[in-house]
Assembly symmetry: C2
């Protein structure tokens, strides 16, 4: 198992907690100097709050953990391709690197619908790796929406 | 003075508080049924937190005020064109309408760099009015950056 697959397992663990509380199953973690400094899962319905996606919550926790808004040196792992809000938050927080599992063809803002995180016109570009444990990340979403339709 | 100019005055008031505490001077308010249910200004340096833009903080307050994540029926007033993160948050919160003061040519995600808030590919489109009290909103930003360079 690679380092990215290992950390994606931790994001998947968060996503499964979201699944179990009836939230869209997306999980995220942030790693700094080989340590997980933030873990979060989608809490939109629970709070309720429109901005409570896993990535935003993880970024907020990481800023508190490091007592700074610049998350230089950090990598964010998330199970699904970030939306515009989260992609923008990733750029705004100056994260070094984004690793995600499966694409979101309908709303993804890394390469599906918009290209935000490594756009040359913005003042910061984030390095991206995708497709890590893609099948597991994608299957969790499919299971959730299949169950919800029933 | 039109209704939009009146409410933009309240967002400008928030922006001036940001200016006085040394934050990039952007302010936002959210109006529901003619009542201001949320007011916020940029707090990125103060908290410190990368997601603490005026719009995100106002959306989070409005969700708490209405106890729901869908801000249907609400209008957000903000002094400067929202960035990708905030534009995404505006779509995610299903706001009816966005009113902003001046453009942000470098990072604006309404029409300058990306077109997020009324993109036909997303599952919600927000009605947009721009240029309300544009000069005052823009002057506050110019004054801030001029002072900071000195």
């Amino acid at each position: 198992m690679t380092k990215d697959e290992f950390y994606m397992g931790k994001a998947l663990h968060e996503a499964k907690i979201a699944y179990n509380v009836g939230e869209i199953p997306i999980g995220a973690i942030i790693v700094f100097e080989k340590k997980v400094i933030a873990s979060a899962y989608n809490l939109r319905e629970t709070l309720p709050c429109a901005t409570a996606h896993a990535e935003v919550l993880a970024i907020e926790k990481a800023c508190r953990a490091l007592s700074r808004w610049r998350l230089s040196g950090c990598t964010l792992y998330v199970t699904v391709e970030p939306c515009s809000m989260c992609a923008g938050a990733i750029v705004n927080s100056r994260l070094d690197r984004l690793v995600y599992g499966c694409d979101d063809p309908k709303g993804g803002a890394v390469h599906s619908l918009f290209c935000i995180v490594n756009n040359p016109s913005l003042n910061h570009q984030v390095s991206v790796t995708s497709g890590i444990r893609e099948e597991e990340c994608s299957q969790l979403m499919k299971d959730f929406f299949r169950q919800r339709r029933q």
